[in-house]
Symmetry: C2
Subunit: 565 residues, 2 copies
């Protein structure tokens, strides 16, 4: 620990020593037993149930589980458990592992926790490291996924599944905990089913992770990391609102990380009251064209300018371009072109970005050609960049904030020429992104993740398979939090992906009929013209509970309840 | 206050109620008197002294002042004081005004504080608003300059000086407090001299403000705002270091606000230990060419890649491009071209950015033409953008982080083709900028600014003219802080600007022989290859003193003392 202390910040040392309070159920891990709840009220429709039974014959139809202490319960044998981090960082991942470790040791001091290195690929390749209390002492309540690393490998092929089986059998594992988002938890269900079919002793359970907030449903109130990420971004956006209002000469166009879902943009918007927050889901629902969107922003800039305010702040969700009809079509056409060898080889042969873009401009047809030609060169270049492994555009790499600033600028020049607008539009851009994924988890995320780790251990102690850790009542104090096990299959839909019927956990997007969105919609006209900015300030780990614990924040954030603003 | 509460964040409400502790000297403002200290040991050279006597005959040669309580001192009459915010935002400006107000009321409850609206232009145009305790209640310990607004007007012409005289006489003012950076404090000295020459009753004193940290000398230990700004950026950079280390696949190139000086980059680098922190002053001193700089970064990327680390973090000071010899020459040539009507009219006639850049590419000569041609189109465009009122390139608008990422990428491709480098260079960029200018001031800046406001009031109570507020011993606890008045002329040099000899407060840049830089230089090779990242985390207002007060931070930051790392 000497080397840690030498270079550690005082806050890091303080956070390493923080002991997150636990829900009461976890006070006595050794006597904890699960019990089946009455059936899930959200019955699946028969067709879906039938499809799921085909894919998950072994794990489908399990009950929701709650936990209670039963002093008569037999002492548990030591458990050998593996844990894996899957996908992008979310603050709190280290605490899930710490919670899992501490709970396993409480269950039986001889239990062991094994970390799979650098994501699910570590399971396939049997790359492991032991999780010890010495190791954890350097990672408790810290951000990042660096304790064991993460990765994006999906266990998909028969060969990979067999390798996973070999690994867990070699290690004599009783359980595998997959910490990940919707895709990774779907993968966890497939692993659980495969293990059951193969009579493998090892059980598999998931933990809901993602800063994007899109892994949520009537059981999962929020995924971990969302709280810290939004608070990190709200610090920045609040500061920028104050700067805009002080400098009175800049328009800030800010892109908000969050992939397709606009939860982060919406929640940050509600925390900070910028002049406009664009919601991709609304753009999609209303089929808002680029022209309409630009016109709406320009109207606001013009209206503010008319009352002497040549400044303001606009939040733009990262995934926006994929929701604007013209660009949606353009991206689809570009994806098709980029999937062919012919176009790819031409692309490789051309060296200058200008030439690549010109090639696509001349090869695209109809509206897509027009749309592409209308975009600035930078954006044209970004749209033809490498696709991700799923063949999708890397939305975080498209500078949508710059695109919107440029096209709004052009529209305002047009209005100025026509005498409608007399202001000055000086646009600065910002991206709330990577700095939100690996910060110190808030007290809320520290506690929540620690409880999620305990829940996963409780499920494995009971020999449960194909479940996801769940903690409810998160808007109350920790002493009222209640852990559950939710069957992964109860969260699933069947969707067509690349022409195949695949089970997927439905992404939770912003819904326009939620209380939360309705409240936002009722306020936004006021926020447009007034400078009603709100300044949340940096995450506090100490001080008054309303600031450091903020216990109702997440519920407001995700389920749409508005107990307090 | 009802409307504030309705939309306020809990942290804002808590900060509004915070009462910054004061240096003991200010406990009894009514009996505070100033005393002349022995002469400044840093004697000015005779030639400079002579020049300053020509420009500042009335205010030159005044002694440094300290303060003591004298119970026999006569009760002061009420003072009428005006205050103005000048230039860019720095966290704590509102607290200078609060400190000034509270001190004036302690001196005599009938004193009045008048705010000049939107910067020094408000003095010229006599645009004012009264500062009241009700108004201040909404702004204490908050960021931003929105209480009265700021501006960049310089009082320069005879007409402007006469208008200022008219204003302060109309308002019957006893004192004017100018809160600003080096330029604004130079302006404060000129105003003080003018008022003295014109026998105007009103005195003028300055307060040292700037996030850039370049207004510092052996008296001014630090300008206010630097502490909060660096802590804001260090939160972000620390988070990104953790993200880089967790994702193990991105190189982050981060531009650090700070204009010409690299103080912010250096201090953030020392707080977070990224793999490289470029220091503009070193690039200048060593005449490092773009090619050398790129080669040095590429060497590091290659060396890390060789040990399996295709990730890392590089900090790039905002002003860097102005310090690289080739680009320095290029900018000088472009500035000359842009100052002529001919080139300007051609520029206006051309609509597409590509065409503008092509025009310059073909019109520039020699090395500048080559250098310009070698830059990506985006950077070419940014270099020919509108100049600021001083004819300088707006460095914050040049995406140096992207430029460096692109040229390093090209160099790595070359090395790859030659078989020297086998890694993957996926570069993401970030700009630590506007979000650092208007955040909640740290406890340090809250206290420091509150004390600076009191110092300004103490100087005006004593009828002092041409001074700057100064508080020393900032690395000790507040009870040991000591206020001083420093004659503005003692901080001045004479420099040629636009062909004229002008008095200027010398900008404090990073010095390569300082203890601080030497420590940094001794560590950086280790930081290059090791992942010795440090995570300062968000600014804390509560909790252990070492975290929330951080009383030795600033001294380490600016004077180069390294009492603790």
């Amino acid at each position: 620990m000497a080397s840690i202390k030498a270079t550690s910040s005082p806050l890091l040392l303080e956070r390493l020593a923080y002991n997150p309070p636990l829900p009461p159920a976890f006070n006595e891990m050794s006597s904890l037993v699960s019990q089946a709840e009455t059936e899930d009220p959200s019955k699946q429709d028969p067709a879906l149930k039938h499809s799921l039974e085909q894919i998950f014959p072994k794990i489908v139809g399990q009950p929701i589980l709650s936990f209670k202490n039963d002093p008569s319960a037999a002492k548990s044998k030591p458990l050998i458990v593996g844990v894996v981090l899957s996908g992008g960082q979310a603050p709190g991942g280290h605490n899930v592992i710490a919670g899992l470790f501490d709970a396993l040791k409480k269950i039986n001091p001889d239990s062991q926790l094994i970390g799979f290195v650098n994501g699910p690929g570590g399971i396939v390749d049997n790359k492991t490291m032991p999780i010890t209390s010495e190791l954890l002492a350097k990672y408790r309540n810290t951000g990042g996924f660096d304790i064991i690393g993460s990765g994006r490998t999906k266990i998909q092929s028969k060969k990979q599944f067999m390798a996973a089986k070999r690994t867990v059998e070699t290690l004599n594992m009783d359980g595998l905990v997959v910490i990940g988002g919707d895709d990774s938890n779907t993968n966890a269900a497939l692993i659980a089913e495969f293990f059951a079919q193969q009579n493998v002793k090892c059980k598999c359970v998931g933990v809901p992770k993602t800063i994007d907030g899109d892994l949520a449903n009537h059981h999962i109130e929020i995924s971990f990391g969302f709280d810290t990420c939004v608070k990190t971004f709200a610090t920045e956006v609040g500061n920028i609102c104050r700067d805009a209002r002080s400098a009175v000469k800049y328009w800030f166009f800010i892109k908000m990380m969050g992939r397709s879902a606009s939860h982060i943009a919406l929640e940050t918007g509600m925390q900070c009251h910028p002049n406009m927050t664009i919601i991709s889901e609304e753009v999609l629902a209303k089929k808002t064209s680029m022209k309409q969107l630009v016109s709406e922003i320009a109207d606001m800039v013009q209206a503010r300018s008319a009352v002497g305010k040549d400044y303001g702040v606009v939040l733009i969700p990262e995934g926006l371009v994929e929701f604007i009809p013209e660009i949606q079509h353009l991206i689809r056409d570009l994806n098709r072109m980029l999937a062919t060898k012919l176009h790819q080889s031409v692309l490789e042969a051309l060296t200058k970005p200008e030439m690549k873009c010109e090639y696509f401009e001349s090869t695209l047809k109809g509206e897509s050609a027009e749309c592409y030609a209308s975009l600035p060169l930078e954006i044209q270049t970004q749209l033809i960049m490498d696709r991700d492994p799923h063949g999708n555009v890397a939305v975080s790499q498209i500078e949508t904030e710059k695109l919107m600033g440029q096209v709004v600028g052009v529209e305002l020049e047009r209005r100025k020429a026509e005498g409608q607008y007399k202001g000055k539009f000086d646009c600065r851009t910002f991206f709330c992104g990577y700095e939100g994924r690996a910060g110190f988890p808030s007290n809320f995320d520290s506690k929540y993740c620690y409880a999620l780790g305990h829940t996963a251990a409780a499920l494995l102690k009971g020999g449960k398979n194909g479940y996801i850790s769940c903690v409810k009542n998160l808007n109350k104090s920790t002493s009222e939090w209640t852990p559950y096990g939710i069957p992964l299959t109860s969260m699933m839909n069947i969707e067509e992906r690349h022409g195949e019927q695949k089970p997927v956990i439905k992404k939770y997007l912003v819904t326009l009929d939620s209380e939360k969105f309705k409240y936002f919609a009722s306020q936004r006209d006021h926020w447009k013209l007034a400078d009603d900015y709100r300044y949340p300030g940096p995450i506090q780990f100490f001080g008054p509970e309303i600031i450091s614990e903020d216990s109702d924040y997440h519920l407001k954030s995700v389920t749409g309840a508005l107990s307090k603003l």
